[in-house]
Subunit: 193 residues, 2 copies
């Protein structure tokens, strides 16, 4: 008789997730470039080499943190392209967008504060919506219409930027998150309405 589920000696199967957690903390505290793999390993109580078993490079850690969130934005864009360009669709785009940023607030805050580093990583990825700016432009196009006048495009941009900023800025810790999300959505709706 065997116990195939659990190998003996409980080999810390969650190390990968612990690396992600610590890396995100340090990237947020001191920035991506100023955080070395040595620091991440030290705070985790392992060695640099251990990190390379779970991630093939420093950039790979970042991608493991950001890919899911970026994919959700891409899905939103794809979905919206198949919808009629009416008021109903616009308000659903904003609702879903705010929810995505709100759910991944820590990661989006990291991306925001390290935009220069993110842009450097995005270089050379010509395919799809690899670049942050492409995603923003796509959403603006869907919210304002592809050939909208400058004023409408600027307002749609401002709507997205202020909504996400509201979701990811560090407020007093005892503010009501649900209220923040509602206010973010209200502001965005006002600007595209």
């Amino acid at each position: 008789m065997q116990h195939p589920q659990h190998p003996v000696a409980a080999p810390r199967t969650d190390t990968r997730m612990r690396v992600q957690k610590v890396a995100l903390e340090l990237f947020a505290e001191q920035g991506y470039e100023k955080t070395s793999l040595r620091e991440i390993a030290e705070r985790l109580g392992v060695t640099k080499a251990a990190l390379y078993y779970h991630f093939k490079s420093k950039e790979d850690i970042v991608h493991s943190l950001t890919d899911d969130h970026n994919a959700r934005i891409d899905e939103l864009i794809e979905w919206a392209k198949g919808q009629p360009a009416d008021e109903r669709t616009r308000s659903e785009i904003l609702d879903r967008y705010v929810r995505i940023v709100f759910d991944g607030a820590e990661v989006f805050r990291f991306m925001e504060q390290n935009r220069a580093a993110m842009q450097a990583m995005e270089q050379g990825k010509g395919d799809r919506l690899a670049r942050f700016r492409d995603r923003l432009d796509a959403l603006v196009g869907l919210l304002a219409g592809p050939d909208a006048p400058l004023r409408e495009r600027v307002r749609a941009t401002a709507a997205l930027i202020s909504a996400s900023a509201t979701c990811m800025i560090g407020w007093d810790s005892h503010e009501d998150p649900a209220e923040l999300r509602a206010i973010a959505l209200e502001i965005a709706a006002e600007l595209v309405g």
Copy 2:
């Protein structure tokens, strides 16, 4: 008879400004941390050591780029503190704020894209409004009132963030700058009004 104005051999007295120009270009292209003094010197046709004659460190180059603009924000805050907290004052705060960001758009864009690096530099400067976040909070306090409810504080924050983003985002190069500035102001006024 002498010619006291121009020393012989025209010793490139503008090198300091040329360094600032090239540094800002490179910081914007690849980010502050990924730009080395070697690269700056190379693009300028001088050596690293020459840079150290004009600036005492890499950070010092950044401060030479940003200090004036930050001081203008500080002056705006000081001025506003002595004004009555009415509609007239709020709208003048926004007008002056937008003008400051608009005038220094390249530098503000650099600070925005390298916020992590900026924050790292701001560590340990306890005095005055050394930190970016302090300036934002001060302006929000002046626009919304010191003990305003959450919604008003969030809206004031969104006003400042979207106005500055509008001024410093890279739009199609043939857009009318004056129109952009007007739209930025309109959005901000709407959110604090």
